[in-house]
């Protein structure tokens, strides 16, 4: 696994609340290799935000890391001194957030902000400015030199998100975390942003951890996919395997639910009835059993482990471990 850039290893994270410990992440294991685009799919409450803040160690004060490691280039980030962690953030690990309207400081010009984030570099101010203009051009902002002096409100939402990407890539990070970067955008802009991300990824060869609930975007952009449900990884693997040969009932039904692949007008669209269980009061056994139409007695007993079914495909479901698959 020497080509792994980021390894999440049995990571378990709790939130201490008045109602008891909320087990936000349980036994999360996956990795991101150099220059790879890994998608994380999951619905509200699956633990995506906790995962990102754990990787960056920007967690709420009531967070407790119960177990596991987050290794970046072989180094455990959870035990790194805060000063070293600060050197990593925005340098070797960058992030693009969901809402492009709120990620920029409204009172500083875009150019000023792009020069400021190069504070680690010893280049001259003029060089930094040139670099900023070059990055703006790279994300497809026309006339970048002139637009450096404009303020965030003078750009449209799609442009602001591309500026955010430019700012994240300016330090040439080895890992870019994109937290639902297209959710707040129109469909046309969404496609524009993912196309741009793909081009830049090839140009800078950085790995991307792409978080989204939009299956179409994941299928379009990612090499591998991690499916999360209620704080656990239920399935992970190559994007083709996951979409064409899902081995966890949740993944299967999630794909079924996406109206994108139902071409005819449907009277009744598929859904997953029920709700995500209370993470402060976990049920025994499989986390998905309440909503699963294939649940068996065994599912109420033990938590199914994430097991490798074949190279590049893992799932956590007892169905895959029956002696005689029917």
């Amino acid at each position: 696994m020497s080509d792994s850039l980021l390894e999440i290893d049995r990571l378990s994270v709790d939130y201490e609340t008045a109602r008891g410990d909320l087990k936000a992440l349980r036994d999360i294991t996956f990795d991101v290799k150099k220059g790879e685009i890994v998608g994380i799919v999951g619905e509200s409450g699956c633990g995506k935000s906790t995962l990102i803040s754990s990787i960056l160690r920007l967690t709420a004060p009531n967070t407790r890391f119960r177990e596991g490691e987050v290794r970046f280039k072989g180094q455990d980030l959870l035990t790194l001194p805060e000063r070293k962690m600060r050197d990593l953030r925005g340098a070797d690990i960058s992030i693009v957030f969901q809402d492009p309207m709120q990620t920029h400081n409204p009172v500083l010009s875009v150019g000023r902000q792009m020069v400021d984030i190069q504070h680690r570099s010893s280049a001259s101010r003029a060089d930094k400015r040139r670099r900023a203009a070059q990055m703006l051009g790279a994300v497809g902002i026309p006339d970048p030199e002139a637009r450096l002096d404009q303020f965030p409100h003078e750009f449209s939402g799609g442009m602001r998100q591309r500026i955010a990407i430019a700012m994240a890539l300016i330090s040439e990070p080895s890992l870019l975390i994109a937290d639902e970067p297209t959710t707040a955008l129109d469909a046309t802009l969404e496609v524009q942003v993912i196309e741009r991300l793909r081009e830049l990824q090839q140009e800078y060869n950085c790995a991307i951890l792409f978080i989204s609930h939009h299956l179409g975007v994941i299928a379009e952009l990612c090499d591998r996919v991690v499916v999360m449900y209620a704080g656990a990884v239920v399935e992970s693997g190559e994007v083709r395997e996951i979409f064409h040969n899902p081995k966890h009932p949740y993944t299967r039904r999630l794909i079924d639910c996406d109206p994108g692949h139902i071409k005819e007008r449907a009277r009744v669209l598929p859904t997953i009835p029920g709700e995500v269980p209370d993470l402060a009061n976990l049920p025994q056994g499989c986390i998905f059993q309440d909503r699963c139409d294939q649940a068996m007695p065994r599912c109420a007993g033990d938590v199914p482990p994430l097991t490798t079914l074949k190279v590049g495909h893992q799932a956590a479901c007892w169905l895959n471990q029956m002696e005689d698959p029917v």
Partner: protein, 307 residues
């Protein structure tokens, strides 16, 4: 007679013409979708219909009655027949009221004091498949999907003829989104509701809308049945919008046709065809102004339509 007839509706804030003349009809029991990029004026259209945004010109006939420019007081009795749903499922619920009070709010506003509000609350909650003990909860205790269903329950309280829905699936997970659309489809059939629905999710449009209109810079550029438009979009803008819809299949190649540049400022509308500068299919003669042409019930504002 159409249930809703919007004719040449214009809205401007100062010298910004947000709506530059919108015309469409909705028949009883029909679902009409308005589609377009942000800033195309979709939300303003339904707010202007409901009297929540100004409309300086044009007419809005609801059930044969002119409602543009009516006072709050004159409008109130009509609101029994016209309900709205808003984008933010939780944010559109008054935060300090219980669900019971929220969904029975329309009865109170309309002064229907003789109704048994507890019974109504129970009936409405069961209509949207929520357990009756939810009546005592507060909005912040609900998930997005549950809050959305409360919004539907409230919109249905007075059995309206028309629902104006602004992004009704925004903020919902895919697994819950289907549930809401099924519910709305079902209610529409049972109660004979007509709907005007705004969304930028084209996958949603395909499953709920009978007809759709595509908006660009405060104007309709194409209109027709949902099947016809998905099958064969004639306006280049529609074509670009429909192509920007990645499928949940890694092998399906995205044949995306990119729009050129950014939407122009409403303060400085382009001359001739307003879409010309962003159109990947523009011809020389597109500097002329296209008119609205209707052919076999399919409306189009384009000089160089795709075939």
């Amino acid at each position: 007679m159409s249930l809703l007839e919007v004719n040449g509706l214009k809205t401007s804030y100062g010298n910004v013409n947000v709506l530059a003349g919108i015309t469409f009809k909705v028949e009883p029991g029909e679902t009409y979708a308005l589609v377009g990029e942000s800033g195309s004026g979709k939300t303003t259209v339904i707010r202007a219909i409901a009297g929540l945004a100004p409309a300086q010109e044009g007419s809005v006939l609801f059930d044969g009655q002119e409602i543009r420019g009516l006072s709050e007081r004159a409008m109130r009795p009509l609101r029994k027949d016209m309900a709205m749903m808003f984008q933010d499922p939780t944010g559109s619920l008054s935060p300090r009221l219980t669900i019971r009070n929220l969904i029975t709010e329309p009865y109170r506003i309309q002064g229907m004091k003789d109704r048994d509000l507890d019974a109504e609350a129970k009936r409405l909650l069961s209509l949207v498949n929520l357990p009756s003990h939810f009546a005592d909860r507060y909005p912040y205790q609900l998930s997005g999907g549950q809050a959305r269903r409360v919004g539907v329950a409230r919109a249905l309280a007075l059995e309206p003829k028309l629902i104006l829905a602004d992004e009704p699936t925004a903020g919902l997970d895919v697994s819950v989104q289907g549930e809401l659309l099924n519910l709305m489809n079902d209610l529409r059939e049972r109660l004979g509701l007509a709907m005007v629905i705004i969304t930028h999710n084209l996958n949603v449009v395909r499953h709920v809308a009978d007809r759709m209109g595509i908006m660009y810079l405060g104007r309709l550029v194409e209109e027709g049945t949902t099947e016809a438009i998905f099958e064969e979009p004639r306006h280049p803008y529609t074509h670009c919008l429909l192509s920007a819809n990645p499928e949940p299949d890694p092998d399906a190649r995205l044949e995306w046709v990119s729009l050129i540049g950014e939407p122009p400022s409403l303060l400085n509308r382009p001359k001739g065809c307003e879409f010309r500068e962003r159109c990947p299919f523009a011809k020389d003669f597109c500097h002329n102004t296209p008119t609205w042409q209707i052919e076999h019930g399919h409306g189009l504002r384009c000089l160089a339509p795709l075939s």
